[in-house]
């Protein structure tokens, strides 16, 4: 239990097994079924979800069109959360749910506070994660502003070849901001031009 999480955590924050044991003794880990909803709009995001095994997504549903827009996928060793909601204690705009049966670790404020106490490296790790997140979001904005559906799709499979094999195509379309039909056509077009992912 917590094996992946421990490994992940110790890689980023140099602490002893004893320290980790102390820190993690109140940590809750859980198996959740596909489709389990972990966060919904209006909720304040009280936990970050470390994916020990499986696959999560965060997404919004547009109120006027009713359409889903996927913000993020998170597979093994990723943390899925609504940072803004958690940090500012505001109701979230997002759903977070499980795309596959998953095992997740619930990370709450108590844990991060304790971690920050124990090791200054945790602060550093966290700061680095924030900057990585910003870099990633900025890259995505730039793509949405400047790239065609095809270019965005190619970028997606370059960045997330694993994810692309594990989620239905319509979710990739949703992430890219196009319709499933359009993505199907983009793929057909690429296949005609003998482009082969993998």
């Amino acid at each position: 239990m917590l094996q992946n999480f421990k490994q992940y955590f110790q890689k980023n924050v140099q602490i002893t097994d004893e320290q980790f044991a102390l820190l993690s003794k109140d940590l809750k880990s859980e198996k959740i079924a596909k489709h389990t909803v972990l966060l919904k709009p209006g909720d304040v995001c009280k936990h970050s979800f470390f994916v020990d095994k499986g696959l999560l997504r965060s997404y919004t549903i547009n109120e006027t069109t009713g359409k889903e827009h996927i913000i993020q996928f998170g597979s093994e060793n990723w943390i899925v959360s609504d940072r803004s909601s958690a940090y500012f204690n505001e109701p979230s705009d997002f759903f977070i749910d499980a795309i596959e049966d998953s095992t997740i670790v619930y990370i709450d404020k108590e844990f991060t506070d304790k971690a920050a106490e124990i090791s200054p490296l945790f602060r550093q790790y966290n700061e680095k994660a924030l900057h990585n997140h910003i870099r990633h979001l900025q890259k995505r904005i730039n793509l949405l502003l400047s790239a065609s559906a095809e270019q965005r799709y190619m970028d997606f499979i370059r960045l997330y070849p694993d994810i692309m094999l594990r989620v239905p195509q319509w979710m990739v379309a949703s992430y890219l901001g196009i319709t499933p039909e359009s993505l199907s056509r983009v793929r057909k077009e690429l296949a005609n031009r003998h482009f082969k992912p993998l």
Copy 2:
């Protein structure tokens, strides 16, 4: 000199005039002319730019199409920077330049390190700024994924009524990810429907 910056800084980080004087004694402030380029792709972003007066923008130029895409505007009391480049010490993808004659304060790592030493509030302020940034970027991604040109434009003038009066229309278009011609038509359409900003 540094009047705005001092005010801004002391609002966010509770420090005495003496502490601020000590902290800021090596700070460089400068008047720069419209069109002055402060950062260009390939450069590592060594400074954040606090806008004392005037208006900056950060933007990319797509290599294949040659088109500009504005990432951010920054007017008085905003800080414009490429956080990823600065934090990871990597070459930036962005341009930063002045849209108006401006007065800016150069904030470097030395300053932020010293500030963090003097007051723990600075760390907090910085963390808050990072989370704000993330929230903002996420909101923009969601808009780009789900909203029409018209909706994005209305959101823009709601969020940045001041900016919209100070920058040429084609820059707003660039921020929104549409052509100047399209924005012109969107505006005409809104005017026909008797929509009046302000």
